[in-house]
């Protein structure tokens, strides 16, 4: 799966920019739900301020170990620091926003 980005530039220097990694395992309903939920939340609340990388651990199992993932789905907020870990299909939008510390504009 290819990373989805709101623009083509490198916005890592922007303290307001979100770098997110979503770990799934195959095309299960739960994985697909998590991807959809994440994209919707980002579009709605992080207009132009995010990168999403979706990692399918069935395709790249070594990443589970390298990135120390145990639960599926796991969403990691790599930036802004500090790193945050959320687990679940991201169906609970309120908790996702709280967990990612997203302040709606």
């Amino acid at each position: 799966m290819s990373p989805e980005s709101s623009d083509g530039e490198h916005p890592q220097g922007d303290a307001d920019h979100y770098t997110l990694r979503l770990y799934v395992a195959g095309q299960t309903p739960r994985s697909l739900a998590a991807i959809n939920n994440l994209v919707n939340i980002c579009r709605e609340h992080l207009d132009g301020r995010y990168d999403i990388e979706v990692i399918d651990l069935l395709e790249d199992p070594e990443r589970a170990r390298a990135d120390d993932i145990v639960a599926i789905p796991t969403l990691i907020r790599a930036l802004p620091a500090p790193l945050q870990r959320l687990i679940g299909d991201l169906s609970d939008t309120e908790r996702v926003l709280t967990g990612l510390e997203i302040v709606p504009r």
Binding site: Y23, A25, R30, A33, A34, N37, L57, L58, P61, E62, A64, R65, D68, I69, V70, A71, I72, P73, T74, L75, L83, Q84, R85, L86, I87, G88, D89, L90, S91, D92, R95, V96, G99
Partner: protein, 569 residues
């Protein structure tokens, strides 16, 4: 003789994987259930992680079964460092493809909807496939209860994980903290139905004792006894209360005691091979000397002998025994005799037992001699239990065991009673100090399966070695019939001994008096003769004096000069 004390562990066709823990497989009929998950639970520091690691390391090294170690608490570097002192090199095992390590971080996650542990399963799968592992350890998976939210969801995910382990057919060990009112803090026993082992550590009378209990083992009968285990420089070892699968063979073959007269007293011509012997007696009665005589005889016969002393160093033993004509240097030089010295206070009882067992495994002696067991400290029943297991362990291996114990004469050997029922042969040596003489007596109080002598005989230690005089004392020579119960016999023997001592003392006094009277008479005669001689000399001197009276002036002068010279010096 068939030992039928315990036939509890019967294998009902369950395939077993060797646990790698010495002694445990004897209790479980071969090991942990193969292809199943075993839960090992216990409090902090009880040895759970060590148990699990040993299962993997021994599996990889001894049984050609590669293993995966997933730690939820420690990094791979920490895991390696923890077991380095046991001589286990996890990095080289990993490099050789015998072990795969993975550690799960302790970062805390927030829940945002449905989740499962699929990523953990993917990691496990990856690790298992990377080395073709047949063993898996999860240590301690309960940490997930601290790092992951939603306990109910975690339980569902764990059930799926345990199901997956079983589907994969790996032999797994999962560790868990002991909980209040349940086996594990988070009820993991709910997911493991095949085998549950509980480890426990408690301190009693300042002696730490570790115990293991098989709480559950499906498809294998087991009892719920607790078995002591130790952790030493080789890892965990279980010490079975009884050797379940050994049949103690009653061999008619005998081993010489090293003292021909004692062999004769025993009836069978020595101790039965593989039997256990206790020699009790007060200080200085010759217990150690009897052991040395046996060590000499066993090694001279070309067999290995292990002499374990809690009191003296090997050098002291060799020197002391040389003084009574027992040369142990040749035995040591031949490599057939091993002398080990250790202090009772160095370790707890279980560690002593484990170390003795390890020594025996290493040296494979025909005889083990221990001097003395009475210095072992601990609660009475635990000492007795340890000695019972020691005796059974040695017996199970067909090793002749001779133990000595210092007995308190005032206590009537009461302390020995605990042990005397365990042994096949009980020999007592005693000390009699009377009329300026010290005599040693020896008698066989019990010897199973032998028509042994009941006489108390005199034990003589001299430069010529150990000798036993034919009959120690007269009137009560043959003491009791063998049919009486051992304890009665023992009590009566004590009384008998005292009567004999009194009789002996009286006899010795009479002899001494007679001897003195004779000496007095002799001296009187000598004095009379001496007096007569003195009188003759005086008369002769007087006669000489008169004869030389005329030359007195010259003689007196020269005498005066001689006296002056003497005074000056």
């Amino acid at each position: 003789m068939r030992f039928v004390g315990r036939l509890a562990y019967v294998n009902l066709g369950i395939d077993k994987a060797p646990s790698g823990v010495p002694g445990l497989d004897d209790l479980t009929g071969g090991g942990l259930p193969r292809g199943r998950t075993t839960l090992v639970c216990g409090g902090p520091g009880c040895g759970k992680t060590l148990f699990a690691t040993q299962f993997l390391v021994r599996g990889a090294i001894d049984h050609g079964e590669p293993g995966v170690l997933i730690s939820f608490e420690e990094s791979a570097a920490q895991m390696s460092a923890n077991v380095r002192s046991l001589g286990w090199d996890l990095s080289s095992l990993t490099a050789d493809g015998k072990l795969a390590l993975d550690s799960i971080g302790t970062a805390v996650s927030t829940a945002v909807g449905d989740w499962d542990l699929e990523a953990l399963i993917i990691r496990l799968q990856l690790a298992i496939d990377s080395i073709g592992a047949t063993r898996v350890v999860l240590d301690t998976i309960e940490v997930l209860f601290d790092t992951l939210p939603q306990r109910d969801r975690l339980r569902i995910a764990l059930r799926r994980l345990f199901g997956w382990l079983q589907d994969r057919g790996v032999t797994a060990v999962v560790t868990a903290e002991r909980g209040d009112g349940q086996l594990t803090r988070n009820g993991l026993e709910e997911y493991v139905s095949d085998c549950v082992i509980l480890l426990d550590q408690r301190v009693r009378d300042q002696v730490a004792t570790r115990r293991m209990r098989i709480v559950k083992y499906r498809g294998t009968f087991h009892d719920t006894d607790e078995f002591p285990f130790v952790i030493d420089e080789r890892g965990i070892a279980v010490l079975p209360a009884t050797t379940t699968h050994f049949e103690h063979q009653a061999l008619s073959d005998t081993v010489s005691t090293g003292v021909p007269q004692l062999d004769a007293m025993l009836g069978a011509g020595g101790y039965y091979r593989g039997s256990s012997v206790l020699i009790t007696g007060g200080p200085g009665t010759g217990k150690s000397s009897l052991l040395a005589a046996m060590a000499r005889s066993v090694t001279a016969g070309g067999e290995r002998c292990l002499l374990l002393s809690f009191e003296e160093s090997p050098l002291q033993i060799v020197r002391n025994m040389r003084s009574i004509g027992i040369d142990l240097e040749d035995s040591l030089a031949s490599g057939l005799l091993a002398i080990e010295s250790r202090r009772a206070a160095w370790w707890g009882l279980e560690t002593h037992l484990a170390k003795i067992a390890a020594l025996v495994d290493e040296f494979e002696p025909a005889c083990v001699l221990i001097d003395p067991i009475s210095v072992l400290r601990g609660p009475r029943d635990e000492v007795a239990s340890m000695l019972a297991r020691l005796v059974h362990t040695l017996k199970g291996r067909g090793i002749t065991a001779v133990l000595t114990a210092l007995s308190d004469i005032e206590a009537d050997d009461r302390n020995d009673v605990l042990v005397t029922s365990l042994v096949d042969t009980w020999i007592r040596v005693s000390n009699f100090e009377q009329a300026g003489e010290r005599n040693r007596g020896v008698n066989v109080l019990k010897s199973r399966g032998m028509s042994h002598s009941n006489q108390v005989r005199e034990l003589l230690l001299s430069e010529a070695g150990i000798q036993i005089a034919d009959v120690y004392s007269g009137p009560g020579g043959v003491l009791m019939g063998t049919a009486r119960r051992e304890q009665e016999l023992h009590d009566q023997l004590v009384a008998q001994d005292r009567a004999e001592q009194a009789e002996l003392a009286a006899q010795q006094s009479r002899q001494r008096l007679a001897s003195l009277a004779a000496q007095i008479a002799e001296l009187e005669a000598e004095r009379a003769a001496q007096e007569a001689e003195a009188r003759r000399a005086e008369r002769a001197a007087a006669a000489q004096h008169e004869m030389r009276a005329t030359g007195a002036t010259v003689l007196l002068r020269s005498r005066g000069e001689a006296e002056g010279a003497t005074n000056e010096s």
